[in-house]
């Protein structure tokens, strides 16, 4: 639930509606009220009967007023109430007379909050200029009705506000109607105020609302009100805003592109029957597969070439033989550029990522000049699901660092996903990944086959978490499969673990021989860091391997702080 609007309840919305029609005002108003309510509650305060003062609850005698609680509900400007009550033509006063008693508890709160508001704020809420006029002018009605009730326990009110809010979802009650009527009341005056700028649609947007408001038009006091809409926006009308509709028949300008020529046909299914295409693709994948030998992931490259092969077929005018022949020559070109990233490029990229966040422009400009920004982005998404990333994420919390879009807007919820993701990946208290996974990361980078394999099994060490004070957890959280176990790592705490792990590591290290050399230049890092980071648990082999990477990461972090 949006807590911001939950505060005021129906009557607060009514107050807002009286001052001006915009829901934005109402929402903002309710927010103020909610804040004040919290303040009251935290200070154990409440209002006296005249709402002139804040008192401790014990000062006044409390009276039973709890029955009204359920009517305090969230103001929800959704269509619900609009729909339910669009033909309710009772005037504001009538409604309040009829329903006022049920709203007392919430109105008391409102008034209490209003009482604490700076006068200018209150005035502006009610649509007055800052020239001080009687603020009570608007509140009078409410006060008259409520004075008897206002010795309710504020805590109770609060509670009712919350529960009412929940109930309100399913129960349409009278205050909703009230809100709606009131806001429709205000439409004409609002339109008066704003018509000079643009033709605003909203005030006149709906016939029956218009007629309603004609009947109910009452408040001249709002004439000078200019809606301050927080979230609600008007749909604007005018040549500034509407598109020019082409008139009637289609025509292309002379210099206009005939799109067809510029759109490149990559595949057309109509020329060959499906089975032939499948045979062709099989052939294509076989032949290209031959060329690539051990390195290729069968499935992965198959997919890539699929598209390529089809396009080749189109280019050859659907001559499968010719297409296959050409494919054979073009195998190299068909290879994905990602695999060509060198270790150095990877490292630079990671450094850049750490330094600049996902500002690929800066990364490219300062770190990876050999690649285009687009390539960096593409690489990023491949890299992100490699174990290299898992490792990287433990070194840095870069995922959280730079988010600074409007914090109040609910539109950016993915931020949470982002953050929880990075939080998950950096959940481990200190960053000691096992050697096996860091080497996996390396190997995957260079060799898709290994990477794919490790991807599946990488969660194995996750088992280790339970036994080894969660060290490896963060690393493996991102592993794609949850339940796969690797007996090898199950015995992490035993001595056998070290030996086993070591052998694994060495195997993997072999597969990534060229990466090792990259690490070698870091190998003179002090051994004490190893102690700190790995809590002395790792086997010499593994810690050495991974220690390089860790210290490497540290170095980067230092670098970054300089930036």
């Amino acid at each position: 639930m949006d807590g911001a609007s939950s505060g005021g309840g129906g009557s607060s919305a009514g107050g807002g509606g009286r001052g001006g029609s915009g829901y934005g005002v109402v929402a903002r108003f309710s927010q103020c009220l909610a804040e004040f309510r919290t303040w009251l509650r935290t200070n154990w305060l409440r209002f006296n009967a005249d709402k002139t003062d804040v008192v401790l609850p014990s000062v006044e005698s409390s009276s039973p007023g709890g029955s009204a609680t359920s009517d305090d509900h969230e103001f929800d400007p959704s269509a619900d109430m609009l729909v339910h009550d669009f033909d309710d033509e009772r005037t504001l006063e009538e409604e309040e007379m009829m329903e006022g008693e049920t709203n007392f508890s919430s109105e008391i709160e409102d008034l209490a909050r209003e009482g604490d508001m700076p006068i200018h704020e209150l005035l502006s809420l009610y649509g007055y200029d800052s020239t001080v006029r009687l603020p009570e002018e608007d509140e009078e009605e409410e006060e008259e009705e409520e004075e008897g009730e206002d010795d309710e326990d504020p805590d109770h009110d609060d509670h009712s506000g919350c529960s009412g809010e929940n109930k309100e979802e399913n129960i349409k009650d009278s205050s909703g109607q009230e809100d709606e009527t009131q806001s429709s009341n205000e439409d004409p005056s609002q339109s008066v105020a704003s018509q000079d700028v643009q033709e605003m649609i909203r005030p006149r947007r709906c016939k029956y609302f218009d007629t309603n408001s004609e009947i109910e038009e009452e408040s001249e006091e709002d004439e000078d009100y200019i809606p301050s809409e927080d979230w609600k926006k008007e749909i604007m009308v005018g040549s500034m805003f509407q598109a020019e509709i082409p008139v009637g028949v289609c025509r292309y300008r002379e210099n206009e592109k005939v799109y067809e020529n510029d759109d490149q046909l990559l595949w057309d299914p109509e020329y060959l029957p499906e089975d032939k295409v499948i045979v062709f693709l099989k052939d294509a994948s076989r032949r290209t597969g031959d060329e690539k030998g051990v390195e290729a992931i069968p499935e992965g490259s198959h997919i890539k070439d699929n598209e390529q092969a089809l396009y080749e077929l189109v280019k050859c005018n659907f001559d499968t033989e010719e297409a296959l022949r050409r494919l054979r020559f073009n195998v190299k070109a068909a290879r994905e550029e990602l695999s060509v990233w060198t270790e150095e490029e990877c490292r630079n990229f990671e450094q850049g990522l750490k330094a600049y966040g996902k500002d690929f422009h800066l990364i490219q400009a300062n770190k990876v000049r050999t690649r285009s920004v687009g390539e960096c982005v593409a690489f990023y998404y491949m890299w992100k699901k490699s174990e290299r990333y898992d490792f990287f994420a433990q070194q840095t919390r870069f995922g959280k660092k730079k988010y600074n879009l409007h914090p109040g807007v609910t539109d950016y919820m993915d931020r949470l996903l982002d953050e929880s993701e990075s939080a998950a990946s950096s959940r481990a208290p200190s960053p000691p990944p096992t050697a096996s996974s860091s080497s996996n990361g390396q190997s995957e980078k260079e060799d898709g086959t290994v990477g794919a394999h490790n991807g599946v099994s990488s969660n194995g060490p996750g088992e280790m978490v339970t036994k080894e004070e969660g060290k490896g957890e963060g690393l493996h959280v991102n592993g794609p499969t949850g339940g796969h176990k690797r007996p090898l790592h199950a015995e992490t705490d035993t001595n056998g673990y070290e030996a086993d792990d070591l052998t694994t590591d060495q195997k993997l290290a072999h597969m990534t021989a060229r990466n090792e050399s990259d690490f070698d230049d870091k190998s003179e890092r002090p051994a004490k860091k190893r102690r700190v980071n790995s809590s002395g648990r790792e086997s010499p082999g593994s810690s050495e391997f991974f220690q390089e990477a860790v210290s490497h990461g540290k170095a980067e972090e230092l670098e970054n702080t300089d930036d």
Partner: protein
């Protein structure tokens, strides 16, 4: 009429592999990369073999100014991350910088996404396909001279403008959780475009989309906003989508449909808003497709890339009438689909705050409004005599004199031969031969359009 056998229809798919290579920057939820993942998943399902695939042209700046203001487009062209300081004033003016950040290749990205979308519209206009798909198109918030909500250039708008060249009435359906406010506003005063948007409403991003926003002027009743509350699920969504769309189809009788398949209405995609599953979302596609109109499917919001890929893949399969297995095939981004590696997602257990009663009331309210529409066939009947009018002169006269327009060769004219033409015909004959489509029907003239509001008024009074 002819198109009764099955629903298999020809599909064209527009994709540029570069489109995934843009990034809005650190922490930004908009991830064009989802489009690439979608493509990859499509490939791994071998769906690509079943449809025509195009790499679209890049839209020129000039094309974009068909809707957007010149200033704005010029600004978009020139702004780069490294020259932002120079443009700080303009950035403010055009609302670029915060939720619409400047990133490398910004304009190119707009060009690509718009290119695909507009190309598909042209394809539909030429009647060379039944369904066109361009997942890269998604920028429905952008305003004439303003970026908004991650959107810079409003490709959907250009698409609709393009379609309007050959279609008298275009229906725009937006099942993104956000309202398609850019579109709605742009066509707020016309009766040729009906915008139907199902969205979460309230204290929420764009702040428009009240159900009482029904259009203005001639466009009154041609904007439909269905405000929904949190937690709506497949069943409820279907329960409103179907009747409303059926009614819209009946009353408005569009000759082309643009469906914006924004995915932030999916369960788990957004913070606890809607609770649709992929199936429920795709059901909308299915329904719209069942109307057998030229249909354009565009992408939209949706910020969990793996679900974006899942859903749009599934919906492409729906468009192709192909069943695909729930088990995801291996693909380049396989790991993103963990931990279950399934195609479909399950709904969460969030509370559906939409009561039947609530939805029903709104539905009734729409039906009331839709009844205000002049019945579409009536306008059609009036249209036909207008064929006699010499097309060239008629058009040119109505044109804005400021616009450079030259008389184009007649074979570049493309027109809807028959509004409800059946698409099978195209497949056989000269599908590629645009000269076959020279026949031009004048659809509507100023006079008639003026008549319509009058009719409407009469109806309203009665």
């Amino acid at each position: 009429m002819v198109h009764t056998q099955g629903t298999r229809r020809k599909v064209c798919y527009y994709y540029d592999q570069d489109v995934g290579n843009y990034n809005y920057g650190q922490g930004h939820p908009m991830k064009p990369h989802g489009i690439r993942m979608t493509h990859n998943l499509l490939l791994s399902y071998s769906l690509d073999q079943k449809m025509e695939i195009y790499r679209p042209h890049k839209t020129s700046a000039e094309e974009m100014t068909k809707y957007h203001s010149n200033d704005y487009i010029k600004f978009l062209c020139s702004i780069r991350p490294d020259n932002m300081p120079k443009y700080s004033k303009q950035m403010q003016r055009f609302s670029v910088g915060e939720d619409c950040p400047v990133f490398d290749g910004l304009f190119e990205f707009c060009q690509l996404s718009t290119g695909g979308a507009v190309a598909s519209a042209v394809k539909l206009n030429k009647q060379q396909t039944d369904i066109a798909v361009s997942w890269a198109g998604n920028l429905h918030h952008a305003k004439k001279s303003e970026a908004s909500g991650f959107c810079y250039g409003n490709d959907i708008l250009l698409v609709i403008l393009e379609l309007l060249k050959c279609h008298q009435r275009v229906l725009y359906i937006d099942i993104d959780i956000q309202i398609g406010d850019g579109i709605e506003e742009a066509f707020y005063t016309t009766d040729q475009v009906m915008t139907v948007s199902f969205h979460k409403y309230g204290e929420y991003f764009q702040g428009t989309g009240d159900l009482r926003d029904i259009g203005a002027g001639k466009g009154r009743y041609y904007a439909v906003n269905y405000p929904l509350r949190d937690g709506i699920d497949d069943e409820y969504y279907d329960a409103i989508f179907k009747p409303v769309m059926s009614k819209v189809m009946e009353m408005f009788q569009p000759s082309a449909v643009v469906l914006q398949c924004g995915l932030d209405s999916l369960s788990g995609n957004w913070l606890d808003c809607f609770n649709l599953t992929i199936k429920g979302h795709a059901k909308c596609v299915e329904l719209v497709k069942s109307f057998n109109l030229p249909m354009l499917m565009l992408g939209g919001g949706g910020y969990t890339t793996c679900n974006v890929a899942r859903c749009w893949t599934y919906e492409t399969a729906v468009a192709l009438d192909t069943e695909i297995p729930n088990e995801l095939p291996y693909n380049n981004y396989f790991k993103y689909f963990g931990p279950d590696f399934k195609l479909l997602i399950s709904p969460s257990n969030m509370t559906n705050q939409n009561t039947n009663e609530y939805l029903e009331k709104i539905k009734q309210w729409f039906f009331e409004n839709l009844r205000m529409l002049p019945h579409a066939p009536g306008t059609q009947m009036q249209v036909i005599p207008e064929d006699a009018i010499p097309k060239e002169s008629g058009d040119e006269d109505e044109e804005d004199p400021d616009k450079r327009i030259s008389i184009c060769p007649s074979d570049k004219h493309i027109a809807c031969e028959e509004e409800f033409s059946d698409s099978d015909e195209e497949g056989e004959g000269g599908r590629k031969n645009s000269s076959n489509f020279k026949k031009v029907k004048r659809i509507k003239t100023q006079d008639e359009k003026e008549k319509e509001p009058e009719e409407k008024k009469e109806r309203r009074r009665s």
